[in-house]
């Protein structure tokens, strides 16, 4: 489709990852003319989500376009866009079920012993049946959970971007303890109802929670000691230490005391706001998050273009960014922001040396079966030289997979390779054979995301250009928000970062004194399965002054 973009903007943003999108929204919000552009035909970049068909078609974008030379002024040079440093590595997908019903043998299938369905009246799962429902999958490259009182959720609420996305609350947090899956008691009622913990342990756990909440000063003496040492000194039993150290504070044996306490507080602070655990998950996958920010940017005038033939950047002889060559056009702007993976290779001084190991599985049942569908967070502790793993299990109610199937994400800091790093989890949690109890992996996908977050992305980059890091290991978007804010305030100092956009209900008509829009209330859209969301809505409301039509003290008896 031949069309022309406008050729002058205040800021050009290349790449639609989370950090880029937040900056785009913030800039657009304060009235800057924003061009947000991507060579991909989808939003999200390295943070995107894909359906089952699209994820098989992911390929590294290595095509380098030749820029037309007539767009350059004298003394200008170009740098070709796109580098290989940050693209997904070791990408591999496998089917573990037969292709179709009539063909039990197929070279595409990693054959697993599938006994003839003597007991099961249902048809065995086939690739065909899953692919048919392929559009119901939303597979995230970088799935995340949101702390209910974390910076990210607060940003969603304060900027009112919350209305562009929907959330579900994580209904249980699990850990792997003594060779089995255990529920982590997070809240007071969890501690009460948990029958694996003795009554004295319950008291100790509650005491610890309350002490941390109230800002107990004792731990100032633990400056250089580990959190584990602190917990041991508090006389917690080994099980309790496991729950608090590995699950609630998501720490390791080496984590220092103060950090461990901060992590624990972060967890406890978010309890009870939207449900029984501190976490939320974005409906339809984390890929929706970037789109929510892009939406706000567009609402305030940002121009969006996907599938663009971006070829190179133009710099003058003083090394200032002058323009972008897109197809046959030259587009100029004062500032350029781009995802690190879009940058010319010359700008990347130090390539990434650490990686995020990732795995995605489609399974046929939950890792811990129960009556109703759960959204599970499993915090798998470090084991045998491997790092701790974050495992997120999603059911159909999250809008990320079809009915009766589950999508399981595994995330860890890479040690060797994704398959190696998750081997122990796979062995303990899943079965590859017909095993009634453990879930079967129907489809698996492994890859590594280069971690651009600890890198120096500034040196050697021209002054009016900023590189944005990609996905990180944090469970929430707090780090991403911090980075976006920092970049934004560098570009536009002394401006407001995403002030709240007014919505129609906020406009008060004269004489109407009853309405007060509760800022804390994240409106979760109603769904068929109302227990989670309705529960959260009620709980969110009960946090604040509830407006109830005043039933009268004014009547006459």
């Amino acid at each position: 489709m031949e069309y022309e973009l406008p050729t002058e903007f205040d800021i050009i943003i290349i790449g639609t990852g989370v950090i880029e999108s937040i900056i785009s929204a913030a800039a657009s919000r304060i009235g800057k003319r924003v061009l947000h552009i991507d060579s991909n035909n989808y939003y999200g970049g390295l943070w995107a989500s894909f359906n089952l068909d699209a994820i098989h078609k992911l390929s590294a974008n290595t095509e380098v376009l030749e820029p037309p030379t007539d767009l350059l002024n004298p003394d200008e040079t170009t740098f070709a866009l796109g580098n290989d440093f940050f693209s997904l590595k070791n990408f591999k997908t496998d089917w573990h079920i037969p292709k179709a019903e009539t063909q039990p043998e197929n070279e595409n299938v990693e054959e697993k012993n599938e006994p003839e369905s003597e007991e099961k009246p249902e048809k065995p799962m086939t690739q065909e049946s899953l692919i048919k429902d392929g559009r119901k999958f939303n597979i995230d490259l970088a799935p995340k959970l949101q702390f209910a009182r974390g910076e990210f959720v607060e940003l969603l609420i304060s900027s009112n971007i919350a209305r562009y996305s929907e959330y579900r609350s994580v209904s249980r947090v699990l850990t792997w303890l003594n060779g089995q899956l255990e529920t982590v008691p997070c809240s007071r009622s969890d501690v009460f109802a948990n029958n694996k913990v003795t009554v004295i342990e319950k008291r100790m756990l509650m005491k610890l929670f309350m002490a941390l909440d109230s800002g107990d000063q004792e731990y100032l003496n633990y400056d250089n000691k580990t959190f584990r040492a602190f917990l041991t000194d508090k006389k917690l039993t080994p099980s309790l230490i496991h729950y608090v150290l590995y699950a609630i504070s998501m720490s390791t044996d080496e984590t220092l005391c103060l950090q461990g306490i901060q992590n624990t507080k972060r967890f406890l602070d978010s309890l009870g706001r939207f449900g029984k655990t501190p976490f939320l998950f974005s409906m339809y996958g984390s890929g929706e998050i970037t789109q929510a920010f892009c939406r706000l940017s567009a609402v305030f005038g940002g121009i969006y273009a996907l599938s663009q033939p971006l070829s190179s950047l133009i710099f003058d002889n003083e090394n200032n960014f002058k323009g972008l060559i897109c197809g046959k056009q030259r587009i100029s702007a004062e500032f350029l922001v781009m995802g690190a993976e879009k940058a010319p290779p010359e700008f990347i001084k130090s390539p990434p040396r650490s990686f995020i190991a990732r795995a995605v599985f489609i399974t046929d049942r939950s890792i811990m079966s129960s009556e109703k569908e759960h959204l599970t967070l499993l915090l798998y502790p470090p084991e045998g030289g491997k790092n701790s793993c974050v495992i997120i299990e999603l059911g159909t109610l999250t809008g990320t997979c079809p009915k009766d199937l589950y999508l399981v994400h595994l995330i860890s800091q890479q040690v060797a390779s994704p398959e190696d790093d998750f081997k122990h989890c796979v062995e303990n949690l899943f079965s590859k054979f017909e095993d009634d109890k453990k879930p079967k992996i129907l489809w698996s996908c492994f890859f590594s995301i280069p971690d651009s977050n600890a890198l120096d992305l500034k040196t050697g980059v021209p002054g009016n250009v900023v590189l944005c890091p990609g996905p990180d290991l944090d469970l929430d978007y707090d780090d991403a928000v911090k980075k976006a804010k920092a970049i934004f305030s560098d570009l536009y100092p002394d401006t407001e970062f995403l002030p709240r956009a007014p919505d129609p209900e906020d406009i008060i008509i004269e004489g109407d004194t009853e309405d007060r829009n509760d800022e804390d209330e994240v409106v979760l859209k109603p769904e068929e399965n109302t227990d989670k969301v309705a529960e959260s809505e009620t709980e969110a409301k009960s946090d604040n002054d509830q407006e109830v039509p005043k039933s009268e003290n004014e009547h006459e008896e």
Binding site: V199, Q546, S551, H555, E556, E557
Partner: protein, 306 residues
């Protein structure tokens, strides 16, 4: 709901409110006048009925109007018996209308005596009451506010009326306690179910309430339930000793909590731990007086009685 802050209004808003109040007052007075004027033993005025519904929706506490509606319902019932046609559809429709009105009123004020009573009264006269729906309604209001005694009482009335299965109610009670064990109403309801009829249930409830007091020793509702459970004659000596030991451990963690000591007193007073009962009690009560000096007289009395 409990603990809500009232918002102070400014002078201007006060005036505004006063004006609105006057308007409402006039409307109310006129409405009442009209309704009471049309009161009759054998028939009723449909307009007045509609008007009463309006007034009640605004203010469900006008029990005069609820009673007026009850009169109307009785008239309808009488009429229906006199009609030759055996079809009571019209009557049922009428009842459903009343129930709908009470539901609407409950939405705006879940604690109105009038609404709850009218609903129960209608159900008593209803030819085909849907009790399951009533349970669902109860559940809904209890989850909105688990201290709404109207709702709890309503539930008790229904249970008495139709005699529901004990197992279901026990499950309901356990669920409520799991959701929030800091609720005296939930514990009290549990005690009215008379479930402590064998050693198994006694043991189970003892464990349940122990969980509660250990998780949060400051919450008094669980302690009261514990006292009630302990008053059951079926508590074995071993259970008492175990509990006593556990309480000693708890006291080490929570030396400031008087309830632990009081629980120990209940245990010792119960008997069959006689060995050094008096000595222990003396020690306990001395500790209690230290922790809770305002009740010194009470503790001294308790000790004397024993």
């Amino acid at each position: 709901m409990h603990g809500r802050i009232k918002v102070r209004t400014t002078e201007e808003q006060n005036l505004q409110k006063h004006k609105e109040q006057q308007k409402k007052l006039t409307a109310y007075r006129m409405g009442m006048k009209q309704i009471l004027a049309t009161r009759d033993a054998d028939s009723y005025n449909k307009d007045s009925l509609a008007l009463s519904a309006q007034l009640l929706t605004i203010n469900p506490d006008i029990y005069t109007l609820w009673n007026y509606r009850k009169e109307v319902v009785l008239i309808e019932i009488k009429k229906s018996y006199q009609d030759e046609v055996a079809d009571d559809q019209k009557l049922i429709h009428f009842f459903e209308e009343e129930l709908r009105l009470t539901e609407q009123c409950l939405l705006s004020n879940p604690k109105s005596y009038g609404s709850w009573h009218h609903r129960y009264w209608i159900l008593n006269h209803h030819t085909k009451p849907n009790w399951q729906r009533e349970f669902d309604l109860c559940n809904k209001y209890v989850s909105l506010d688990d201290r709404n005694f109207h709702c709890w009482d309503f539930r008790r009335l229904i249970v008495n009326k139709i005699g529901i299965s004990l197992a279901d109610e026990i499950a309901f009670s356990t669920e409520r306690i799991n959701i929030n064990f800091s609720n005296y109403s939930s514990w009290h309801y549990r005690s009215t179910l008379q479930i402590l009829n064998d050693e198994n249930s006694v043991a189970n409830d003892l464990i349940l309430v122990q969980n509660a007091v250990f998780t949060d020793p400051i919450d008094t509702s669980a302690w009261f339930y514990l006292r009630w459970v302990l008053s059951h004659p079926g508590i074995t000596k071993i259970q008492k000793e175990d509990l006593l030991n556990a309480l000693e451990q708890l006291q080490e963690l929570e030396p400031e909590c008087k309830w632990i000591i009081m629980a120990k007193c209940w245990l010792v007073k119960q008997g069959n731990l006689e060995k050094d009962a008096i000595c222990r009690l003396k020690r306990y009560y001395t500790e209690l007086i230290k922790l809770d000096p305002l009740r010194e007289g009470h503790y001294k009395d308790c000790f004397k009685v024993f």
